[in-house]
Subunit: 700 residues, 2 copies
């Protein structure tokens, strides 16, 4: 529980100062200026008073309760201050001071020492090398931070790894009149972590939406655990920066962490229903909508305008984002025809014309609120000088207040001359945007989130593939029985797939020519012949694979050939049913630290190698997630069947994906597996794995 | 010459009014308020004076010179007012009044009549159904418009088809302190056209950059002609709206024009070097940079910051946009190491730290201005309360003023409390952005434009393919000689390609089995057999094509087969060399109204059909354009050669593209042609056309 941090009874500032350019002064003044409702205790051994407040030589001498203490003194003095805090019974410290892990060497040692002291005395630590926290709850009014953005009440909470980015976001939300509920930027995060703060914000009733900025995740699994829980209750909007290689390098030199996390972060966001952003403006504008409007219950948007051009832009943007612009019902049209000017457009987008009256706006919004075809409304209003704009705003406000569908406003105006109009619209809770595209994108994010919550959040977690305990045990023993090599031999790999009922091409392993001929006889020609050796990983590239062997004679010849070429490995051979027709696809799994396994799906060959057309998901996958992976690749039309092609058995592929997900969950010692290629036959005809490669962890 | 419109000597308002909600009143007040330097003549038969200015019963009775007259009276009275203008010698009228072409029926007739009157009396018409124009040139100060955005001097000119979009852009530029040079929104555009205004703005010395908003182009060829000329001198930033089908529908119901122009507009923009945008904010922010900063002479960016997080975002954005983040030279690093704090980062991005001083900023900028590795600078400054920010701003300003490399500033601050700091930076001409990503994108656009201007603008226009007049004549006769059918027969089509020296697979046309055998004998097996009939367009789909015929016997059998299956057409046959290996690609050309032909290139089969991975260009193509088409497809790695593949003879493909471009320019009666597939062999081995389909215009 982080109440002592965000709702402290009493705050001490160890290092409070009269010097105005000093952080200890700034925090003290911020606490005072924004009306912190608890007691403030400057700690300064040299002054009896700081900024007009009685000061104490040590925190242990403060008379009242001190839940939270800022430490802003020199880094080497921090351990001593911590000991003082322990004596006083302080529950949390914010160590603003820098000079810890981020400078390496002795800083690392110092940070360890501080963490130890905290553990010993049960003091939680926020920071070090950090900004601090804020809480605009009127009961608290806490500005425990040295930054400059004024505190204004709002429903958006902000959690930023980079203090700079946090400050930009906070400042922008203020400019947009949106306000902030809680703010936290925890620097080195030696104790109180991002997931912990996220969980706390998730439970805070005054927070309707959370913005998170992430540069790198120390423990992604922990983050995911919390984020999934929170995102089901309220939207999490996240900025991940350092997404390019050069950006990651900049993060590295900034935070000392370099992780190839981009795909991992993407799948985590996806799995948790976190909405990803790259731009400050878009994340702030979207948060505004979430903070004040209900979620849309479907993808259908109604647009109202009094000027054509911007409505066209809104339409473009909605359609690009996958929203729909349905026609209005006849009843709605009839109602509009009766009320609006004869030249007005009564289809979607509805154009009430520049001369549109308050009644016209009210009627249009009312009609769309009552139209079952419409789930959300984008309301455009350019303020003509020849219209009573405040009357229009009042009419909008009256009909829109407490609407059960989200309404986002685009008010195109000179903000000084029409300040009254803007104020009326804003006071109704409708967020007012400058541009149609910004409102449309915010609405698209709300719609996607709402759909995710309906579809996924209710869905049972965990893979849907049923496995008996004995089968799992069999699989485990099979993997363990394999020699120490990095890669599992081909026949064991195929057996493993068979235990999980993943269909594979008929195969047999043999050493001699005679054994091969027998096996081919049972499998039936044509067959494929492969060298099975752990030394040969890319069989095609190394010429260790022959396709389309039609008869005994050819098989004998190819065997001789390969046996002599690869004699140095003294290899075994795999003879396999040659799969005819179908579409090549690939399914893979890869362990990613404490996250578990990332599952990959893509079309085979050139699609992966040239176009990188692949979809990722995080195990354990649900059936919905597997289907979303299948449908999210760019070449999906190939699976559905295009000119001349019959398409693929998508249901069978979904099963393969789900079974691979289950397999790697049951056998976490598998570091990497690739089913490549899988041949997918037309719908109803299944799919078969033609080749598989499984790499174990070294401890296995 | 549009001087009488943008720099009129004397403006009359026919329909000037005292009523404040009247357009005639608003225009009069705007002209007065913003200090129009010429004379203003209200025309109103009922009042001797309007808004304190002497009024006249008719424009013909005005004593002084009237270059420009606004007409804001009822639509039916406009022709009479035009006649009055003729008597007076008015040179241009702005018809603000609506009720013309846009309402259909009698409105169309009325507009025609007005155009006739204008022609007869040599009066140019702006509008009708339009806003008007503005010109902030201090010599003119013309606000001939009824909108609300105040006039502020600037170097950005604005030309908008939609008045609503124009107003939003104008308003936003004002909010950004950027100001506007000229503004025009010409509604129905019955006479003075978008290209004409664009040309005028291009010639205006006070205009450094032009923003254009387009919903649909009436005469794209004319627009292109002008835009190419202008874009070589100054950047044109364009928003095309109505890019989705739904958006185009909305344009249609708005303007009565529905054109499938999206690809056409894209290639026009590309060809002219017009920079395309979809968002208001981005176009305005980019214009700001162009308006004040020199063009970067290369793609290398240097980033300076005093806070890590935002610099990471800038890095991500630069790299995503194709800019480079080079390392600094050792000399630069050494200079920085000497000046900056020891903990500062002296690689790119340079981090002077939050405590960075004015000297640190000055040294960093100076070093990058002198570093040949760096072409442009992104300067980040979050305003810490413990730093003298105005001193930092002054230092930046001093070193950056008159720099020969562009410097874009990201100033992250509370705009009220640090207004002085912002003002110092702005007054140095450095545009100040709120977010790193916005500045980075603006810089990327500048860099792309600058590169385009260096590479393309100097290049000789026109195709580089040389053709003798006699060959062209031969080609023309060949096309004319073809029967009236829509499609040219296969042999004629191949002959046409041969005239243009486009390499084709060996072929022959035959009717009987014996003729086929002879032909195949000369070509050499294996061969392909195709039914050649204008009725059969998609040969593969209809089973009118057999591949891999190995000998006489097989050819005879397949011929019998096809002859009987397609007997209703009494077809001829095409026998062709079967091309072995290589990569399938497609080149096409399609006539697009007065634009000429759009040329298309793509990888064959699934790449086009499933992935729509194609590039477009406008004939006549230059070699650079052809190469850009080849390299801009997503599957370009396939052409370069990927795992196991040898790649394609890209030079040969560029020749095919250029020759097709030349061919359709010489033979504009060709409406559409498809070379599909072309087999591209490995580098140095050329490419051959395997099939071609040519559709003529009906008049041929």
């Amino acid at each position: 529980m982080l109440d002592p941090l965000f709702r402290p009874k009493g705050v001490a500032i160890i290092g409070a100062s009269e010097r105005p350019l000093n952080i200890g002064n700034r925090i003290l003044r911020n606490l005072k200026r924004y009306g912190y409702t608890g007691d403030i205790y400057p700690v300064n051994p040299k002054s009896p008073e700081v900024e007009g407040i009685k000061a104490y030589p040590s925190v242990s001498e403060v008379p009242g309760q001190v839940d939270l203490a800022h430490i802003v003194i020199r880094n080497s003095l921090v351990p001593m201050a911590m000991e003082d805090c322990a004596k006083k019974g302080v529950k949390v410290v914010i160590i603003n001071t820098a000079g810890f892990k981020e400078i390496g060497g002795e800083g690392v040692e110092l940070e360890k020492k501080v963490v130890e002291i905290g553990r010993k005395h049960n003091i939680r630590i926020f920071g070090p090398n950090c900004q601090g926290v804020m809480n605009s709850d009127p009961e608290v009014k806490l500005y425990a931070n040295f930054t400059f953005t004024p505190l204004r009440e709002g429903a958006i909470s902000l959690l930023a790894q980079s203090g700079g980015v946090g400050e930009i976001l906070n400042n922008r939300l203020l400019e947009l009149d949106a306000g902030v509920r809680m703010y936290a930027s925890n620097g080195n995060a030696c104790d109180i972590s991002i997931p912990e703060i996220l969980e706390y914000m998730g439970e805070d009733e005054g927070t309707r939406v959370i913005i998170v900025h992430i540069e790198s995740l120390a423990r992604p699994g922990e983050f995911m655990e919390v984020a999934r829980k929170v995102a089901r209750k309220k939207p999490i909007l996240a900025m991940k920066t350092g997404r390019t290689e050069e950006g990651a390098k900049a993060v590295s030199s900034h935070t000392g962490m370099l992780l190839k996390q981009d795909i991992a972060i993407r799948v985590i966001f996806q799995k948790c229903g976190i909405i990803p952003f790259t731009h400050h403006e878009e994340i702030c504008r979207t948060a505004m909508a979430f903070a004040s409007q209900p979620l849309p219950q479907g993808r259908n948007v109604g647009i109202i305008t009094n000027t054509g051009g911007p409505a066209i832009i809104a339409t473009d943007e909605c359609v690009d984002a996958g929203l729909r612009m349905p026609d209005l019902t006849d009843a709605t049209k009839a109602a509009l025809k009766e009320t609006l000017f004869p030249e007005a457009s009564i289809s979607n987008p509805v154009d009430v014309l520049a001369t549109g009256t308050p009644e016209h706006y009210a009627a249009s919004i009312g009609a769309m609120l009552g139209d079952d075809n419409i789930n959300s409304i984008l309301l455009h209003f350019v303020t003509p000088f020849f219209v009573d704009c405040e009357a229009v705003a009042t009419a909008i406000s009256n009909v829109a207040k407490d609407a059960s569908k989200p309404i986002l406003g685009v008010v195109m105006t000179n903000k000084e001359n029409w300040a009254g109009t803007l104020e009326i619209i804003r006071s109704s809770g409708i967020p007012a945007y400058d541009f149609p595209e910004t409102a449309a994108r915010a609405l698209a994010h709300m719609t996607d989130y709402s759909q995710w919550r309906r579809e996924y959040a209710g869905e049972k977690r965990g893979t849907s593939v049923e496995m008996s305990l004995s089968s799992i045990e069999k699989a485990r023993q099979l993997v363990r029985s394999c020699e120490k090599g990095e890669f599992i031999p081909a026949d064991a790999a195929f057996q493993l797939l068979e235990i999980y009922k993943i269909p594979v091409a008929k195969y047999a392993v043999a050493k001699t020519g005679e054994e091969l001929l027998n096996a081919a006889g049972q499998i039936g020609y044509p067959v494929v012949l492969k060298v099975d050796s752990p030394e040969i990983v890319h069989k095609t590239d190394e010429g260790a694979l022959v396709l389309g062997i039609e008869n005994d004679e050819a098989l004998r010849e190819q065997h001789r050939n390969l046996a002599s070429r690869f004699s140095q490995y003294n290899p075994r051979f795999l003879v396999q049913e040659q799969l005819i027709g179908g579409i090549e696809v690939v399914v893979g799994g890869k362990a990613e630290g404490d996250l578990g396994h990332i599952i990959m799906f893509g079309l085979g060959g050139i699609y992966i190698e040239v176009l990188r057309d692949v979809a990722f998901g995080l195990a354990p996958l649900t059936p919905l997630e597997a289907h979303r992976m299948l449908s999210s690749i760019k070449g999906r039309a190939l699976l559905d069947g295009v000119r001349g092609g019959e398409g693929a058995d998508v249901a069978a592929l979904a099963q393969v994906i789900l079974k691979v997900s289950r397999l790697v969950c049951d056998l976490p010692e598998i570091r990497e597996m690739d089913l490549n290629p899988i041949i997918a036959f037309p719908p109803g005809q299944g799919a078969k794995v033609a080749d598989v490669r499984i790499r174990k962890g070294t401890r296995c």
